[in-house]
Symmetry: none
Subunit: 424 residues, 2 copies
């Protein structure tokens, strides 16, 4: 590499491809790269997506170079005529495109491996701006380019996630680490049973503080707080985060259910494991969503015994032993039936806990009395059975939202019940 | 709205939120909006993501206004201090922030619905740049803003997908339609049971054609072909698409299962309705995913009777009447058990069809014989019971992929079985 080896403190990501602008493909690469850059202590200013258009790509590259120390592009390294990334990098940097013998050899090697013959267009992938360092791509035919331009380091990577991930990890990450100062560490704390604004008020002093930064994010009945700071080492960053985390949990511990990758279902699983306890679930309106989420976690067979999706009344009677009279008198969406479902599935499966949900998920089929969004959650264990009424009518137009929020509340009630037992 | 009502031909999307720049959340909103804009005949130039930073948001807004007729932002409409979108729009447009009574009333209404009291910070969501038209948000407390600035129309939408989708569909789409020329029409054809490259080879002539464009996209065992064209009216566009669609279906009809919003589960539902037939499902490794997907469709109670998530062998014996000896001799992940599960659930529930899945979803727990990715699907109806073996070991590193692909293949086999019966 020529040019001054200045520190890399800031970065941008440019995603190149018309399929993204048409919404045919969701860009997951930017999030992946951003996580890695954050761990390396590099601040990210912007993600930009542009189409396969020469002028727009060149303009975007120049803008990014004027703002950031590092610019990573993904996409546009293929052999077809709409793959323009390296050509645009040459235009932006005012360099010629030249053939790299090692890249040409790599094309031949990769084609030989699949017993196929390259076409002339494949050798386009051997052309790079003069002065480029190549980023090897063991999984594909297209190497990436590494080039200093206008004081910014450019790295071009392919759009195929597997190829991109490998090239970033093996070549780019070590190079960035050698040229960056310190680490950014983030901790995410998860809460439920409290709204975003009520939660924010409890910790407004932290939300206003410059370092560590604390930011809330809400969705489907859950709120998370992200604590972030930067320091010379990961350990020093952790030391700055710890007192903030402690104080936030002191204030909001009642609503806290886990950190970082924890979900309500994994928290329930962890508590069940600690008690060596088992669970069975009976679902009506959530239709298998709770069972699906509980079994997302590898190893969930240790505590999850079975799930019954009892959509019909006949199934509720036969599988859960719900008296027909109860179904007729109160209706399937009712507090007594929710309790009886939880108790019925617990007894049938012989588990320690039973969890149930019955409700009107909509968007149609509601009545004045049994409106869309009316949901009952039942919980049963050896000490008793209870049910809670939820009014999710505010989300009545979204079947998904009613179901996700029902599942979240059901898992949270179960979590609180198991925690209570752990304490007693 | 003030300002000239010029046609909307080009658009950009700005995603606002530090969580995206840190890679903690993948932006799916931009793809969703882009698809809708493409259908409305609007060209999309750029997606940009910026953090919760006043200066950078304002700069990004001004840049976008200088390039495009329409700028849609998502995110940053919440009640907390890092929610800056409308404030930045006011700064960019040189307007004051003023309180909108109807927005204040909406906050009160939404809180009253939950029997909670707004905090002062909640009323921040009633402040908008002077001259704003509000975009109603029936699902959340934050309306969006609609404002002309520098010859561009700005629309600010929340980041929560359900809220954003509803507001776009109900308010923004009709407004854009009224101000755009011509129509882009897309038809998506869905296929399964064939790989992307094999499918592409069959229709290479269409993939190479300039108009209508045909583009393939693959994922989780399904491939879709998107046919797109532009014309003066939707009807004229349809006329250009129809012959292409007919010819593609002539060549690939065996693998086709539906178009546009159709999913494997909605296709199964449609066929069951046509036969007035019912279904019960027994799942092991998919853990409720198939039941969840079948009940995603409103009105699925007409054909979906029940789902049993029989994770333990004990549950398979008790609920599905699988002989213990069969479980011991062949193991739970085996062809005989898959068949017996499908037959067992069909007979227990008294339905016309029974569907089952049993397999090793991983990522741990595999053996040489019962490896991660080994899955059996069982199908049973009055005429017989059969099972199919799937080898999904190529996706063994992703529990999600194994489960999604198992569910896709199970639903597809059932679909083919029901179709066969319709023909006979």
């Amino acid at each position: 590499m020529n040019g001054e080896q200045k520190n890399i403190e800031s970065a941008e990501i440019i995603t190149i491809g018309t399929e993204m602008l048409l919404g045919e493909l969701v860009d997951t690469n930017s999030a992946w790269i951003s996580q890695r850059l954050a761990e390396l202590g590099v601040g990210i200013y912007r993600h930009t997506t542009v189409g396969d258009n020469r002028d727009r790509i060149v303009t975007t590259m120049k803008e990014a170079a004027s703002r950031s120390d590092l610019v990573i592009t993904t996409g546009g390294l293929g052999p077809t005529s709409d793959d323009l990334t390296n050509e645009c990098l040459a235009l932006a940097a005012g360099r010629e495109m030249v053939e790299y013998q090692e890249a040409r050899d790599h094309v031949d090697t990769m084609f030989a491996r699949f017993e196929r013959t390259p076409t002339p267009s494949n050798y386009k992938q051997a052309l790079f701006p003069e002065g480029t360092m190549l980023i090897p791509n063991p999984l594909g035919t297209a190497p990436g380019a590494l080039l200093e331009m206008d004081g910014a380091l450019f790295a071009t990577l392919p759009g195929v996630p597997d190829e991109m991930n490998g090239m970033f990890t093996e070549t780019l990450a070590p190079l960035i680490r050698a040229r960056s100062d310190g680490s950014i560490v983030s901790r995410t704390l998860w809460f439920t049973g409290i709204g975003e604004s009520a939660l924010a008020e409890e910790v407004q002093d932290f939300l206003d503080a410059p370092d560590p930064t604390v930011a809330p994010l809400a969705g489907q009945g859950k709120v998370r707080l992200r604590i972030t700071t930067r320091a010379a080492t990961p350990e020093a960053a952790e030391e700055k985060i710890a007192p903030v985390e402690r104080e936030i949990l002191r204030r909001l511990g009642d609503y806290y259910f886990g950190q970082d990758e924890e979900t309500l279902e994994s928290a329930v699983g962890r508590l069940l494991r600690e008690q060596n306890a088992t669970l069975a679930v009976a679902e009506s309106c959530t239709g298998g969503l709770i069972a699906k989420r509980l079994t997302d976690t590898p190893g969930s067979s240790a505590y999850f015994a079975e799930g019954l999706v009892t959509y019909s009344n006949e199934a509720k009677e036969r599988l859960l032993d719900i008296p027909w009279e109860m179904l007729v008198q109160h209706g399937a969406v009712s507090e007594p039936v929710a309790g009886a479902m939880a108790e019925g599935v617990r007894k049938a499966a012989g588990t320690d806990y039973g969890l149930s949900v019955t409700g009107v998920a909509g968007p149609d089929g509601g009545t004045a009395e049994k409106f869309v969004g009316l949901v009952y959650v039942g919980i049963s264990d050896a000490e008793g059975t209870f049910a809670e009424r939820l009014d999710l009518s505010a989300w009545a137009r979204s079947r998904d939202a009613v179901r996700e929020r029902s599942a979240n509340r059901a898992l949270d009630l179960l979590r609180l019940r198991i925690e209570e037992k752990n304490k007693s």
